[in-house]
């Protein structure tokens, strides 16, 4: 450690200037004050002036002298003082002034350097002594050197102690400052603000972060009371009070710190939302406050953001849960769409209900007509069959019925349960809710859960929502069942129960509803006996399905019958039907239709086709031919379609097939293929009506199942052989065709006109009798048989009725008289079942008339 580092250059230079000044003063005073005359005044004054000059110089350049210059200057001082001693010729007293540079050296320099200077002083004094030749030079030298040496050494030692003390404290201070510097660094780089105040709250120090937080610089805040640094005026008092309380508490040994939130207004207008922790510290017996200030604005924002996130998460989870529940509720309602009857619906509904409520068991009970409940279904299904019926007042279900409110039962006793299957499932909590449709209770739905779960109010609400949908589903299925039954009944009633039986005409019909459709379709057929032994055949297809189509169908059927019995021809009937369909309000209806009137007497077939597949005619040999004439638009599409009929001959032995498109149409197939299939199948086999129907169905629908409804009507023009047998409807209108048939048959047999007249007359009378007098029921038939054998015609007329007694005998008689007159033999056989009349006539040889 360099000694002169203790003193700065300035001090040394100034001291040096002082030395020079002192020397100058000594010189001046020596001359001015009374002195011995040996003093060389001029030289002394010159020396004084030089010293003064040097003193001034050193004062001037005080800051810039180097150590070397100081040493030199000190040597120069020694030399000048030597010259002063020399020129005053006073080697004794004035030798004292050597003390000044000597002490200067010891003061400002280290001991060795000072000793060096002392040695130089010694040498200079010794030189002066030699020059002046003084007595006792040695002793004077010793004294002159010894005094400053001793004093100087003591000074040096003292200065050494002081120096080392100073050095130590400088070291400490450096260490302290560096550690302080480190702390400062830490404190300054801290994110939080640190503030230190005295006990009165005046700021002692703040760090960089605090500057930022407070919006003020360090210099601005030092010494000011903290509360003036941005705490709102209204909060001052409180702040001060809390500080005081804290001090008091600290003094008493209680808590030494407190935390609080503060709002600080910055000078730039912004606001700091902060949190401070204030604690009391003691230093040197004084209490002070240290405070940490942090900006929680960010933290608050963070907290709020987190809260919002959590809330949003919770809301989303809630919404997802709700959506899931709603989805499951909807699944319950949808169950009705997949099931058509209650037995299948029950398990479906219970499975979905269990899902909605996450329950282990569920049961569904429905109110029956007698008021009791019937267990429709339970889930899980219990292995053993137990009685299904439950009295209306039994158990939890009974309570629900009575109160029309949900019932929640924890740890239910077995007696409360209509279905011990629930109990067997280990249920600890049971909830039953009424099923209400159209404001009436139609049943009860129960769910149960296993321990440790308990059903809650939320479950009650959920089950009520489910119950709404269950009730809807059940009602839907029931309504559907009703509607289906109605439609089915309606449709069955629209098809003819029996087909009319007419001479020369055999009829057969088939109807197959579509397999996959639960709704009834719009196909129908009909055969109506018209006057004169004719028959009207109808084959139709109303657009649409269900009740609407069925009711249009029924209306058309009735209309056709009415028009036909009025005697209108097929084209006229079609025109009227068209008007009828067009006039149907609201719904768009359309119907395709074939109307055909067949007269077995002249074998004529008149037909009209309103947009329907063409009828198929078969000759007696089985040659098929589609009747493509008279094609027109379907009913209900044009206001004036102008239907026209076509007439063909259906010879004896031939057949006619009417059908709907279900028989010939297949998906992804040309219609012609279906028609070909039909005609091929029809021609391959006997033309007997029932056999024909069976054959056609087998060929066209091998699997028996259809996508579409199928309706089929066949007619055979029954040929007449040597035996004419037919069932006569017990109606007077049938007689004409019988006569015509007979005439034809007799013509075939080449009977003469007389024979024909007689036989036809007799048969007509006999059948009239049978019809009139038998009192037969309308659907009873009269069995008529005529056989040609060996030129003889034998006729048998059998009726199944009872001869009425009320008939006036004369009527009866007239007829019988005629018969008697015309036939060769007449026999009457009354039997318990009816009456048989036998007639016989021998044919005469035909004579050309």
């Amino acid at each position: 450690m360099r000694a002169h580092a203790m003193f700065d250059t300035r001090t040394k230079a100034r001291s040096l200037a002082f030395l020079y000044g002192a020397a100058a003063l000594t010189c001046v005073l020596t001359v001015l004050l009374p002195h011995v005359p040996s003093v060389e005044e001029r030289s002394v004054l010159v020396l004084g002036a030089v010293s003064l000059a040097l003193a001034l110089v050193f004062l001037r350049v005080a800051g810039q002298v180097s150590d070397g210059l100081v040493h030199l200057a000190l040597a120069v001082v020694t030399v000048m003082l030597s010259l002063v001693i020399h020129y005053t010729h006073n080697t004794t007293l004035y030798a004292l002034i050597y003390t000044w540079p000597a002490l200067y050296a010891f003061y400002f320099f280290s001991s060795p350097v000072a000793l060096g200077h002392l040695a130089f002083i010694g040498a200079a004094y010794a030189t002066v002594l030699r020059i002046d030749d003084t007595m006792d030079a040695t002793i004077r030298l010793v004294l002159v050197l010894g005094t400053p040496l001793v004093v100087g050494l003591l000074i040096s030692r003292l200065l050494g102690v002081v120096r080392s003390g100073i050095e130590r404290s400088a070291r400490q201070e450096r260490a302290l400052r560096s550690s302080e510097g480190r702390t400062r660094l830490i404190v300054d780089s801290a994110r939080d603000g640190f503030i230190s105040t005295d006990a009165q709250g005046r700021v002692l120090d703040i760090n960089a972060a605090a500057e930022r937080l407070l919006g003020r610089s360090r210099a601005d805040v030092l010494g000011r009371p903290f509360q003036e640094l941005g705490i709102p005026r209204e909060a001052h008092a409180k702040f001060i009070q809390r500080r005081r309380d804290l001090l008091k508490a600290a003094r008493e040994g209680g808590t030494r710190h407190l935390e609080q939130r503060v709002t600080i207004n910055r000078p730039d207008g912004t606001q700091l939302r902060g949190e401070t922790m204030i604690w009391v510290v003691e230093r040197d017996g004084e209490l002070m406050f240290n405070a940490r200030l942090s900006d929680i604005g960010d933290r608050l924002l963070e907290e709020r953001k987190r809260e919002r996130l959590v809330r949003a998460e919770a809301a989303r989870a809630e919404a997802e849960r709700a959506a899931l529940t709603i989805g499951r509720l909807q699944a319950v309602a949808d169950a009705a769409l997949t099931q058509r009857d209650l037995d299948a619906l029950g398990p479906e509904i219970l499975a979905r209900t269990r899902e909605v409520l996450d329950a282990e068991a569920a049961a569904l009970l429905l109110v029956q007509d007698d008021g009791d409940l019937s267990l429709l279904s339970s889930d899980p299904v219990v292995a053993e069959r137990r009685p299904n019926r439950v009295p209306a007042d039994a158990g939890i279900a009974g309570r629900v019925l009575a109160t029309r409110r949900p019932v929640l039962l924890n740890d239910p006793p077995a007696s409360a349960l209509a279905d011990p299957a629930i109990l067997a499932a280990g249920i600890s909590s049971l909830l039953a809710v009424p099923l209400i449709a159209h404001e009436e209770i139609i049943g009860v739905i129960e769910v149960g859960v296993r321990p440790p779960r308990r059903l809650s109010a939320e479950d009650v609400d959920l089950l009520r929502l489910t119950a709404d949908r269950v009730a809807l589903a059940i009602e839907h299925v029931r309504a559907y069942g009703r509607e289906h039954r109605i439609a089915e009944t309606l449709q069955r009633s629209l098809l003819p129960q029996t087909l009319p039986s007419l001479p020369g005409v055999a009829l057969a019909g088939r109807y197959l509803p579509a397999a996959s459709e639960a709704e009834v379709g719009g196909d129908w057929y009909d055969a109506i006996g018209l006057s004169g032994g004719r028959v009207l055949l109808v084959m139709g297809d109303v657009s649409g399905k269900g009740l609407a189509a069925a009711s249009m169908l029924g209306a058309l059927r009735s209309a056709i019958r009415a028009y036909a019995l009025e005697g209108h021809a097929p084209a006229q009937i079609a025109d009227r039907l068209n008007t009828f369909v067009l006039a149907e309000p609201s719904r768009e209806h359309m119907a395709t239709l074939v109307l055909a009137v067949f007269d077995p007497v002249d074998a004529e077939l008149s037909y009209v086709n309103a947009g329907h597949p063409p009828p198929l005619a078969l000759s007696a040999e089985g040659t098929p031919q589609f009747l493509d004439g008279a094609r027109s638009v379907p009913l209900g599409v044009l206001p004036f379609p102008g239907y026209q009929e076509e007439t063909v001959t259906l010879e004896s032995g031939g057949a006619l097939v009417l059908y709907t498109d279900g028989l010939v149409e297949r998906r992804a197939e040309n219609l012609d293929r279906g028609l070909d299939r039909l005609s091929v199948a029809a021609s391959e086999g006997p033309l007997e009506t029932e056999a024909l129907c069976d054959r056609l169905l087998r060929a066209v629908l091998p699997s028996g199942a259809t996508n579409d409804d199928v309706a089929l009507l066949t007619l055979c023009h029954v040929p007449l052989g040597s035996r004419l047998a037919l069932d006569l409807p017990s109606e007077p209108s049938a007689l004409r065709s019988l006569r015509a048939l007979l005439r034809r048959w007799l013509a075939q047999a080449e009977a003469s006109d007389v024979d024909v007249h007689a036989i036809v007359m007799a048969c007509s009378e006999a059948c009239t009798n049978a019809i009139e007098h038998a009192g037969a029921a309308p659907d009873e038939t009269i069995a008529f048989e005529a056989v040609l054998r060996d030129g003889e015609v034998d006729i048998v007329v059998r009726d199944r009725g009872q001869w009425r007694d009320e008939c006036p005998p004369s009527d009866q008689g007239r007829g019988l008289e005629l018969i008697d007159a015309l036939m060769d033999d007449v026999e009457l056989e009354p039997t318990p079942d009816g009456t048989t009349v036998r007639l016989r006539r021998r044919l005469t040889e035909s004579v050309s008339v």
């Binding site: 004169g532 007077p732 007689l735 006109d753 007509s764 015309l822």
Partner: protein
């Protein structure tokens, strides 16, 4: 006019009515037809000519009704003549029941008209 398979037309001939019937008359339509025939003869007519040329068949009911008709017309002092062509089946039938006793039968309409007086 069409009556369940039979036809009926009427026309005036002076103060007589000619009623022409066609088709087949049996128990089914006899009553209705004969009633219509009767209705076709106004009460102030002197008589009626019933032309059965177009009739193909008559059964006992028809015959009975015809008898009744003639009798009613006679009660009204109206003459009735019946036309049935030769060889027709109806003629045969009416001969069988001796209808001629109830009303004169003629072979043609002209013949019947000529006889009107």
């Amino acid at each position: 006019m069409n009556v369940d398979g039979a036809t009926l037309t009427s026309s005036l001939h002076g103060n007589h009515v000619i009623v022409s019937v066609g088709g087949e008359i049996d128990v089914f339509n006899a009553a209705r037809l004969i009633a219509l025939v009767e209705a076709a003869v106004p009460t102030d007519a002197h008589g009626a000519v019933l032309d059965l040329t177009g009739v193909g068949f008559l059964d006992s009911t028809a015959i009975r009704k015809l008898f009744a008709l003639t009798s009613r017309l006679r009660e009204r002092r109206q003459h009735v003549r019946v036309v049935t062509p030769c060889g027709s089946t109806v003629l045969r039938t009416l001969e069988l029941v001796q209808f001629g006793r109830a009303a004169p039968m003629h072979a043609s309409l002209e013949e019947a008209l000529a006889e009107l007086g």
